[in-house]
Amino acid sequence: MDLKLDHYSEDDTEIVVVEGEIDVYTAPRLRELLIDLVNKGNFHLVVNMEKVEFLDSTGLGVLVGGLKRVRAHDGTLDLVCTQERILKIFRITGLTKVFGIYESVQDAIDKRKSK
């Protein structure tokens, strides 16, 4: 299974759209994209995971790494996810306490701005 990546700007936020499986083979590409976006000065990221079918520990590591990078610039990395299968992975790994997880991109942006 492949991984498709896309990104666009909206409301001072860079939205990263991920589709497919984030595993040991595909995660490096997501890592590169996140690093690239942060290096270009995007410190508020929203990763839209609605079309993600699976992520393993390497994929989680990449998201955690991205979060650490934006936090170093007082930034944010929030997730959009409503799929039970993916939410379960975040719950088991205790990462629901680390990431903001929202139902829509707009929701994620609004919540950040109201903080």
Binding site: S57, L60, G61, R85, I92, T93
Partner: protein, 412 residues
């Protein structure tokens, strides 16, 4: 034939020698193409090499440079044949040869020497060149043959080298696995154990799964963990963590301080900032029937008694993500006769039938139930479990699987 400076020699190469025609016909059947990097400062010699090769059946592409400096751009990763004059304006002799051999690791190197320095050619071959040719004594057929043989020799040398490297790598993996999966220290514990490890489909990528169990001062501590990602860094960190944890336990560090100390070790020892470890630590006092469980981003253990229960411990983020001070501990009943199953996520990440469905903890529980219903003994559970997971996955699992089964006996 001569890669020579003598114009008198040239007519000899104007056409193929009688013996050469046959060689040509034979070789054209194989239609080889060879990339040649000619490092030669004398334009006449360089011209001669081109002329000689033009007359052979060798389909040669020649790139000519006249200094080592110019060659340096082309040597890394070059896989053809280097024809090297050992007397260049900016380098020479064995030092020059060594640089070429180390920079162009995969190339065949044939050295060109003058008539008076033939000894240099022999020394060059001893130092790692595939062959040497004496200028003025070479014809097209000899040159072509030398190039072909040199490339063949280089290829077989490289195959042998790769084989050697693969063997060393496999031994390295074995050493790492030994470090990750130790002999547990349970002589005085009420727990008896059965451990299991099966490497994933990508054998070359040794994972960072580890476990250990140590009885100390009347309490048995057990740990299973998994460093995120695959590769030597991850496996090495797994070994570090496992040994550090054992040292902390054996050294008598208090139970509630074990994992904060381990997290500190992780954050100082990891190669990249984003590396983390999921783990589960279980502690049992001898004589007690209650487990103390600390879960850090790890899938929950299962308790097998009459039924199969998933231990409902509070999931906390993995170790090394964002160290916090949440030191709460969960308790769970563990009666004598019951068995605790600790495992790594390679098992629950297996496909359940077809993508995108994964086994998950629920699937694991169902498989276990099924295997037990068919009368499997506890000792056989790990193999049976992984076999069934592989069947559903449609082949070997992608990730490594480590499992630790601990049965609460009457014990010493």
């Amino acid at each position: 034939m001569a890669v020579t400076d003598s114009s008198a020699a040239r007519p000899e190469y104007a056409g193929p020698a009688p013996g050469e025609a046959a060689v040509t016909a034979e070789a054209s059947a194989v239609a080889e193409s060879v990339e040649i990097l000619l490092i030669e400062d004398d334009p006449q010699d360089a011209f001669l090499v081109e002329e000689l090769l033009a007359d052979t059946n060798l389909d040669a592409t020649i790139t000519w440079v006249d200094t080592l400096r110019a060659a340096r751009d082309r040597l890394p990763g070059f896989r053809g044949c280097v024809l090297l004059d050992l007397n260049l304006p900016d380098a020479g002799g064995m030092e020059l040869l060594r640089e070429v051999l180390t920079t162009a690791e995969s190339a065949a190197v044939v050295v060109l020497t003058g008539l008076n320095d033939e000894h240099e050619g022999a020394a060059a071959v001893a130092a790692g060149a595939q062959d040497y040719l004496v200028k003025g004594q070479v014809d097209g057929a000899l040159l072509a043959r030398s190039l072909r043989y040199s490339i063949e020799r280089q290829r077989s040398d490289e195959n042998a080298r790769q084989l050697r490297e693969a063997e060393m790598y496999a031994r390295e993996n074995m050493r790492l696995e030994r470090g990750l999966l130790p002999q547990v220290l349970l002589d005085r514990s009420p727990l008896t154990h059965r451990s299991f490890y099966r490497p994933g489909r990508k054998r070359a990528l040794v994972g960072g799964d580890f476990f250990d169990a140590v009885e100390k001062n009347g309490t048995t501590h057990v740990i299973i963990g998994d460093v995120s990602g695959h590769g030597p860094d991850e496996a090495a960190l797994g070994v570090n963590l496992r040994i550090a944890w054992r040292a902390l336990v054996v050294g008598g560090v208090r139970e509630e301080e074990l994992l904060p100390a381990l997290e500190e070790i992780l954050t100082t020892e990891r190669a990249q900032d984003e590396m983390y470890a999921t783990l589960c630590q279980v502690s049992l006092d001898t004589g007690s029937e209650t487990l103390r469980i600390r879960l850090f981003g790890h899938p929950p253990p299962l308790v097998l008694s009459d039924g199969i229960e998933e231990v409902a411990a509070t999931p906390r983020p993995p170790l090394g993500v964002f160290p916090d001070s949440d030191l709460s501990v969960d308790e769970w009943p563990f009666p004598r006769g019951a068995t605790l199953l600790l495992y790594t996520d390679g098992l629950v990440d297996a496909y359940d039938g077809a993508p995108p469905d994964r086994l998950e903890v629920g699937g694991l529980r169902r498989i276990l139930q099924d295997i037990r219903d068919r009368g499997a003994s506890t000792v056989d559970l790990p193999e049976r479990l992984v076999d069934e997971a592989e069947r559903r996955n449609g082949g070997p699992l992608q990730d490594d699987v480590a499992m630790l089964l601990l049965t609460h006996g009457t014990g010493p």
